[in-house]
Symmetry: C2
Subunit: 450 residues, 2 copies
């Protein structure tokens, strides 16, 4: 009788860029892989702002994990939430289920943070999930609808004021897209308001937008934004968001801006898995809860637990940890996948070295900035580069065709088709409760008129 | 000084096929038009089942009303809900707003009905809105996920049993699409279950599916469905839906089927606007609350209030009222728009005559039935006809390009990209509450792993 050799079990928590690229790189390795995620899809997060502003549909930037990995025979996808990790017994716990591992890769990412002002969340939603994006979309388009109905000029102005907090790539992309909505896409659509009276305010604490980029690109981005109609306010700190008013500090000056739509693109905090790992393994966390990893991306004294992607703080290459962007996560995931294979073979382990392929940020139609290190450029060429890179990476997740067509359509028509206001609270502030016996009996939240 | 002539005010409630076609037909008329809808988009309802089964995204079958009507200068779109109608003062009431009308067109449609068993709604959602479709989608794809996790064989079977109540076009389309998911799209995606063990049950009270169609087409549809793997049960009445069991009656026999996913495609009831109109104008309603209209689609004794589309019961052309399908609504809307114009000119009013252009129902890939009256056919040709008609009508709402590409993609790859499980309760039955201090602090419903 032949003995069946027990295969090396790799468990990956999180199907974002870090986790998914690790899993895919292990596709032909002599291991069993289990990918655990709370969601059934991989999200192409760099384009989430397009969903928030009505340019793309959620499914355009998401791919079912099972579908991506369907032909990877050594891999299982498990939909569920990790409740605990036991590094001694080498097990990951889910509700009513324990998954043993030989190697664990944690790639659960980060969410947005309000720097201790978590109560601002209600007034200023962030952008990390599909649900976040749909909520932003709902608020943005409802604001124009509310302005159309409003008769009080001050209130109308507040409905037409959009404040984006945070001048990083997400904030810049949101501000650019909302400006395009107000000054181009929606201009012909209303009768009582002129959408080009909208005010789009981008607030940044540092002295320039896109602070991680080269100063000349920040300057170009700022110019492009202002050309699009965005008012950029740097060295500006939000001190309060309440009752439709954003309070901010510029130097010693306190400014209050009435704004009904405030979008948060400012801070991050690590997924709770960071703290769980710290408690269970003694891993060291940074200020925002990310796990500080060894040069090979493992946790200190836990050679078979790796942390990759945004949750990982890798400080071994330069003064600052690597940035929380997709290319870092992809390279980290692939590196760990390779390391596992060399370890199994007993070969010398490779060192992780991040190869910086440059940075990109898009501002709007025909406008982007690109920093490849040896060369920096902006404008239409940069925008084409941005387009190419994003379509290229979407290719692997089979959405490219539809996204390309949608974008081509949006580009030439300047339309945005995904402008639906949906969800349970779809009518938000202007929703009307039906009175008396005209209530729809079963489900009052459903549309009555159509 | 020139006198400004007061223009005839037309108010249209509801932006579905009936209302929207009326509005568009009034585009060049010497009238002012106000279109009121609770939603900001027109929904191409015939394709809603595609959203429910992950083939298309909500935005693919929706178009912003403002965008459709953006260049129609005499038309205003108003997002809001009608709370009352005053036929004496000729006003439509919204919250904090009154809209005077000279002519009123009501086109608020129908929703689904449980024949007095409204408590079944929780267990067996219907399909009328985008939110309904996303809820169905969530349940369908969660069922496969739950089956993959389930270890008890009976429970697993229940997760893999899909019961569709109602053998009209919607029920047939849903049953066909779910079969394709189980027997083709998802087959390679799971490791613990064989999705082709799924059971798709289509229940119909009459003696055949698609009862309004010619009997030979019903027979062909049934054959196609069974070829796809659907079990069709006619002369079958659901007597209870509770605790994961559907109880049905076939003749004298009582059958209980454990099924975790039950979808409702059986009955309709009129929008509450029907009862409101009856109370305010004395309009006569039929059994399901639709307004029985005069030969010119107006309400008796209310020559300037018209009811078009699904909410209208037009009994003047044959034994039964016209069916609740898009072509009827479109023709009714356009007819009333024309009638208004001839009335203004003082010309003799035209008679409404519905031109039956035939019926179509799609069963699945390459399979549909078409009844043009003088000719009936089914199979691939019928499917092409179905495809052509739907793309043709989508053209006017500018989604055609993306839908065509998405469909071509789905067709050739047999994939369905819009398989996201989203929403607040996105993880449904298998959701895990985090324990103790690992709770995500601000918004526990958000994903933790990814």
């Amino acid at each position: 009788m032949a003995t069946i050799e027990k295969k090396h079990e790799v468990v990956v928590i999180g199907g974002g860029f870090g986790g998914l690229y690790a899993v895919q790189k292990l596709g032909k390795a002599p291991v069993n892989v289990t990918l655990i995620d709370r969601r059934n899809f991989h999200l192409f997060q760099p384009l989430l702002y397009q969903v928030a502003t009505g340019g793309l549909s959620p499914a355009d930037i998401s791919s079912p994990l099972r579908s991506i990995l369907s032909h990877q025979a050594n891999t299982k996808v498990l939909l569920g939430e990790v409740t605990d990790v036991d590094p001694v017994a080498q097990k990951v716990m889910l509700r009513g289920q324990e998954i043993p591992y030989d190697t664990l890769i944690v790639a659960t990412g980060v969410s947005h943070s309000y720097f201790g002002n978590e109560h601002w969340q209600q007034d200023a939603p962030g952008l990390k999930t599909i649900e976040n994006a749909l909520e932003m979309r709902r608020r943005i388009f409802m604001a124009f609808e509310a302005a159309e109905k409003e008769t009080d000029p001050a209130e109308r102005r507040a409905w037409l004021t959009f404040v984006i907090v945070g001048g990083g790539p997400t904030g810049v992309e949101l501000a650019g897209a909302i400006s395009e909505l107000a000054f181009s896409t929606l201009r012909q659509d209303f009768r009582n308001i002129d959408t080009s009276e909208a005010k789009v305010l981008l607030l940044e604490g540092m002295d320039r937008v896109l602070p991680p980029y080269a100063p000349e690109l920040s300057a170009k981005a700022e110019k492009s934004l202002e050309h699009l109609g965005v008012t950029v306010q740097t060295k500006t700190f939000v001190t309060n968001i309440a009752n439709g008013v954003v309070t901010m500090k510029q130097g010693e000056e306190i400014i209050e801006v009435p704004a009904k739509t405030v979008l948060w693109a400012a801070g991050i905090k690590a997924s709770p898995m960071g703290k769980l790992l710290a408690d269970r393994t003694g891993a060291e966390l940074d200020r925002v809860g990310r796990v500080i990893v060894e040069p090979n991306l493992s946790i200190a004294n836990q050679p078979n637990i790796f942390v990759v992607g945004d949750l990982s703080n890798y400080p071994h290459q330069g003064e600052r940890p690597l940035p929380g962007i997709a290319p870092v996560a992809m390279q980290e995931g692939q590196y760990v996948a390779k390391l596992i294979q060399t370890r199994i073979k007993g070969e010398p382990e490779p060192q992780f070295k991040y190869v910086d392929l440059g940075s990109l940020a898009v501002i709007g139609r025909n406008a982007a900035v690109v920093d490849l290190g040896f060369i920096k450029f902006s404008g239409f060429l940069a925008w084409l580069a941005w387009l190419f890179v994003h379509i290229y990476f979407l290719i692997e997740f089979d959405n490219k065709l539809v996204v390309m067509v949608q974008w081509a359509w949006n580009y030439f028509t300047r339309k945005r088709g995904a402008r639906l206001i949906t969800g349970d609270e779809s009518l938000g502030e202007v929703e009307v409760d039906r009175q008396g016996h005209y209530h729809a009996p079963a489900k009052p939240k459903e549309p009555i008129e159509a």
